[in-house]
Subunit: 368 residues, 2 copies
């Protein structure tokens, strides 16, 4: 077994300098093409080529020590890496980071870990001299950021800072929900039900608010008999929608709290012999892969801007970092990113009942 390759003598900047017959200063200057510094084109070229053929790779630890900046940003996630969504946040952050020549160091705190553990995680990142920290949480209303985060620029994903000092980005769930209802209203639906989640979280509130706002702008009066709830899973959607659909004046469309509940809605409809979307339109929320696209008919829903929030976070973080010293203290209002509705196949015009426009089963082919 040849081990010739295993001997990697780790060439440093002075090896390059020695080989090129110049000082390390010069090497540093040409390799970073430092401004306000002069080197003849001849030596520059020589240094560069020697560095290349020696396989020189700079040591960012050493550089970071000197320049007091690591060009790393820390991503502190709160359990979020567990959820299927999480990847998109990380991906968005990572790609935006690459774009700025930063690397991402990630640490995941368990949701049930105490504040103490969370502070330790923040400290671990700070010890690594990260230039900034992203604190990504599951959707909370407010959160007290670990005070260690004050030592370094920080942004928040999915929650507001209770002290109102750390910039935050959140999904505009109400907006998305309102748009979704608008879409249903435009399709002629007037009896639009809402199958909400029975557990109280910010998302529950936001989507309800959006639903009501959507009704209002469509000029549809609120009817609390059209608001049901269940656990935020398929089973809950099933029972809630069974209750909603199994009556004479059933709604012509149901907005489900999330895609999982929408799956339950599909089952309820099927058992009652109602076709989707001809007899009842169903919409969900989350655009949860791979449900939304795999279900039949494919589900019209609203996407959460996970990728965008991740990208927004590192993007504004870099701005904070560059801004002079304490300037980043002037925290702005939170940023609400839009939740775009993605239309698929589960909505059709409302079946004619009092308005005799068209019969049920209008259009929409699909083998069935």
């Amino acid at each position: 077994m040849n081990n010739e390759e295993t001997v990697v003598p780790k060439v440093g900047i002075r090896d390059v300098a020695r080989a090129a017959g110049v000082s390390v200063t010069t090497v540093s200057h040409v390799l970073n093409d430092t401004p306000h510094t002069r080197t003849s084109e001849a030596t520059s070229e020589r240094v560069r080529s020697i560095a290349r053929e020696l396989g020189y790779t700079p040591n960012r630890l050493a550089r970071g020590l000197r320049t007091r900046t690591s060009e790393m940003i820390g991503l502190l996630t709160e359990e979020i890496a567990t959820t299927p969504h999480a990847g998109r946040i990380i991906l968005g952050a990572q790609e935006e980071a690459s774009r700025h020549n930063l690397t991402l160091a990630i640490i995941n705190s368990h949701l049930d870990a105490g504040a103490e553990a969370r502070r330790a995680d923040a400290r671990a990142l700070i010890e690594r001299q990260v230039d900034g920290i992203i604190y990504a949480t599951v959707f909370h209303h407010e959160v007290s950021v670990p005070r260690e985060l004050r030592a370094v620029p920080a942004v928040l994903i999915g929650a507001l800072d209770r002290q109102g000092v750390v910039p935050a980005v959140l999904p505009d769930e109400a907006g998305g929900a309102a748009e979704l209802v608008a879409l249903l209203a435009e399709a002629g639906h007037r009896r639009i039900a809402f199958a909400n989640s029975s557990i109280e979280v910010p998302a529950t509130q936001g989507r309800l608010v959006g639903y009501l706002r959507g009704l209002e702008t469509a000029g549809i009066p609120r009817d609390d008999r059209l608001i049901a709830s269940g656990v935020s899973e398929a089973a809950g959607g099933y029972t809630a929608c069974l209750e909603l659909l199994d009556r004479a004046d059933r709604p012509t469309a149901i907005f489900c709290y999330n895609d999982r509940m929408a799956m339950g809605a599909y089952r309820a409809a099927q058992e009652l012999g109602l076709r989707i979307p001809e007899d009842v339109s169903i919409v969900g929320f989350d655009d949860q892969a791979p449900i939304a696209a795999s279900v039949y008919p494919a589900l019209t829903t609203v996407a959460l801007p996970h990728y965008e929030m991740g990208a927004w976070a590192v993007s504004t973080l870099t701005r904070l970092i560059q801004s002079t010293s304490t300037a980043w203290y002037r925290s702005t209002d939170p940023t609400w990113l839009p939740c775009p509705v993605v239309v698929r196949e589960s909505v059709s015009p409302a079946p004619a009942r009092r308005r005799g426009v068209r019969g049920p089963g209008s259009g929409r082919s699909g083998r069935r």
Copy 2:
């Protein structure tokens, strides 16, 4: 606006030393309790308390520079962060890393990025002096690892190293598939179909192999008329299963290439008026959240050991790192991690046909 907090003079080890009236050496010794070194309990305690009250945080960049080890490990993912599964790999790696006091630096390469870009990514990690690198790919047979990875211990997730020098971990898909078929056979099924994916990837092969092996150990002769295929999505599962089920001698159980195709199988069964699992049992593969648990009846399937592969990777990586110099070159055989079957509700005993054991619709309640 008070900016008293914004002034963080960054206390270093010498500040502690000065305040404690000792040398930095001593501080370093007590804070790391370096072996083979002596400090009186009195001064030790004093140093510790002063460090605490001064809020000293060590600078890992400086420490890394001196000790020539960063205690970071790099995770290089190939597009994988896009898939819903990815999070689990990252999570597994991250938690195992935390357990070893390591932090994870992640970089994501696009699948369509050239080898050149991939090498640049590897280089970026190496510049950061990571102690080791995990290269996580979507499931490949073999891959040529960027040669920069030779500079540092590395492990591979989801692919074999073409040069056979980098340790690798992969999911034992064949094993999982075989177990799944065994489970069906034990339930009395003899006509077990396989709805495979029509596109050829390692997983296609592996699951087919497992299917055949499962049949063989159950003493069931292979019947190619029971093997269908379609695109690896709900639509493909639908057409494949429609074809399989819409005949007189239809199978009593179908093993679908993945959970998405299983969703298509559900639809096919429903349209043909077949109940699951009473008339036909369906199983999938991937245990893809949230499909498998949300579908009705909940899908029996096989889980991929994403989390475990991530954890395995950093765990063996730390072993490699600790082992002396070139010892990690003696690459071992790849590790195949088991894919456990997770049983839910979509399998029931085979309906009696020639063996008059019990009638259809045996047991299994469920509101319907």
